[in-house]
Symmetry: C2
Subunit: 346 residues, 2 copies
DNA sequence: CTGGATTTCGTAAACGTTTTTGTTGATCAG
DNA sequence: CTGATCAACAAAAACGTTTACGAAATCCAG
């Protein structure tokens, strides 16, 4: 409970001067500033967040909204933890804190977001898993809350976003598998109206078309983007008539890939031997046998880009990041493995 | 930006009365209270968090600390998301919010916690993955911050905690495997000094001793508690001389189990056929083939118990939860599967 | 020297809310 | 009818900080 008042009293200074010294304001003698800094350190003084944000009208906190409960979204895994880490290295430069705002499964996500915003929990927000049409975007824009989306959406208010290059993954994946003789290529799509599903399918369709291959809706496998989903797809494939089955598959979710490998082994279609797999790289996928042919990107760098793009839209920080409104597709690098062998002849 | 002042002005009331009406204080006419509630609703008024917590000296927020970065702890997964959900159902009854405080991999966890506490981010904290000796416990106790630990520790200040029954899992697991003829039983232990490692090993040792079986340190396999770790253990087992290899294994981490299954298949020791596995149940483990013999508990109920035990130590809420200082080991229920077959004869 | 600029600091207002204390009628017991 | 109790509200203080403003001291140019 050491407040700024005690600190000032102990130093024979006014609280105003102490505050300015702590905040690096110009009109304070450098010598006294050192005195203040030192005293604050030894007394363990840290400014009270409530008082500070009440006065400043800003909290110094950026929120990342995520839903709790039995996960069907695949959020909360190592993917986001790595992205967060990148975000935080940028935020640390500005004394900004990142917290995860946990929306209970019992509360409506839109209502939760409104509550969070109105209460002034955070100065800015990061949203992810954007839907085809996403109300959160409308709302945040209308309330003039700085935010950035990880993922595109048809709901477009000219807001900043970053997204993975799903088009590139579909195109490159199809190209590789076709070159190896595959004619029936399956892909994954989410069950809900997450935007990436639409993007991914459309790019997949276009890639097939360009190569004169038919687009077969039965080769689109919908599932939750987690281990269970990947496992179930493998079994669904095995349940198809042999001549209808795909011989290769493209997916993008890391957790899913683990389950898919598991499932393929179970149904007697071992990856890299009887079935070709291309997915996204991840620390968790690294140990897979055979080695996964995959698309790699640095999640930490993604987080850094995300943070910088967000700060570029916040008046108080924009000067340091003259990026304008960032709307960018992040490319991935192909890593050749052994999971996408040529199609079995005969 | 609709403040309580505008609301009061619009209603021809003083801000004090409006505040009391909103907060359910007694000395306000029921009719005017309705008027206030209605107006607040239509105007979309939500109390400003900064002003409120400045005045009240409390934030209405409970923080769960977790570390970001490439995860080696296995946190951030579906385990915690499910626990969170239970916590939140209790918190919702008291207008308490749960947020995840994300400690960057570049910041010292202890320093981060001190900063969080001093700044007044949260009224109380939940910590997990407790270490054998855990400085966080000392610190929180010395600062008189209400908190609860998910996990025991040798650092004991009489604080509340909940923990899974690792002793029970070790004892039951060993008993089952021994009954099926297994003589060499391996177990998992974490690489760091997480407390559960000590507890688990000790219980395992005791269970063997009671059955006259030798305790062999080579049967303790240390790894990170994630898919990769489980995978690596399977390969480590296969690399042992055949007569030194365990024929069965007990582990408790859900992610790890997935990697372990994968690895066992890879090394030609398919679970349930040539190698016995017992682990903890989880949504992710449900699809495993063969069906996992496992220990089940409701993570949601665990979260509820956690929240109630925490509130019992917070003066403002203790009256509703006369539990005293909760220090409890949560039992798990055995679910019989097909992964722990009898040891192969010959 | 002198007047204005500059440096350094103190004073006080302000942020939005909750809560304590007062104040006004109305009600009630005697 | 009178004094006390009570219900319902208003007024104002308080939470801890930042910042606009002003004041004193110092400096410098002329």
């Amino acid at each position: 409970m050491t407040g700024i008042r005690e600190l000032a009293q102990r130093l024979n200074l006014s609280i105003g001067t102490v505050s300015r010294a702590l905040n690096g304001k110009p009109d304070v003698n450098e010598q006294t500033r050192q005195r203040v800094l030192e005293a604050a350190n030894t007394m363990g003084y840290v400014p009270n967040q409530a008082g500070r944000s009440l006065r400043k009208g800003a909290t110094g906190v950026v929120g990342f909204m995520m839903q709790t409960g039995a996960q069907i979204t695949g959020e909360g895994d190592v993917f986001f933890m790595s992205v967060f880490d990148g975000v935080q290295t940028v935020f640390a430069r500005h004394q900004l804190d990142l917290v995860a705002l946990l929306c209970s499964s019992e509360e409506d996500p839109d209502a939760y977001m409104q509550r969070v915003v109105a209460r002034g929990f955070a100065d800015a927000l990061i949203i992810s898993a954007t839907k085809r049409e996403d109300h959160r975007i409308d709302y945040l824009a209308s309330r003039n809350i700085p935010f950035i989306a990880l993922g595109r959406s048809q709901t477009d208010v000219g807001h900043p976003w970053l997204d993975l290059d799903f088009e590139g993954m579909a195109e490159t994946g199809v190209a590789r598998l076709v070159a190896k003789g595959h004619r029936r290529i399956g892909i994954f799509a989410p069950l809900d109206n997450t935007n990436l599903g639409f993007v991914f399918i459309e790019a997949y369709r276009k890639a097939l078309e360009q190569r004169g291959l038919p687009f077969d809706p039965d080769l689109i496998f919908r599932a939750h983007p987690n281990e269970r989903g990947g496992h179930d797809i493998a079994h669904a494939i095995a349940a198809m008539p042999p001549n209808k089955q795909p011989t290769g598959f493209i997916l993008t979710n890391e957790l899913m890939t683990l389950g898919f490998y598991n499932g393929l082994y179970e149904v007697g279609l071992p990856p890299g031997q009887k079935f070709a797999v291309i997915s996204r790289d991840s620390p968790q996928a690294h140990f897979l046998v055979p080695k996964l042919t995959s698309f790699r990107l640095s999640l930490r760098d993604l987080g850094i880009a995300l943070a910088e793009a967000l700060l570029a839209t916040m008046p108080a920080y924009a000067a340091h990041y003259p990026l304008g409104v960032v709307r960018k597709i992040v490319p991935l690098e192909l890593v050749e493995g052994d999971s996408d062998m040529p199609v079995a002849t005969g």
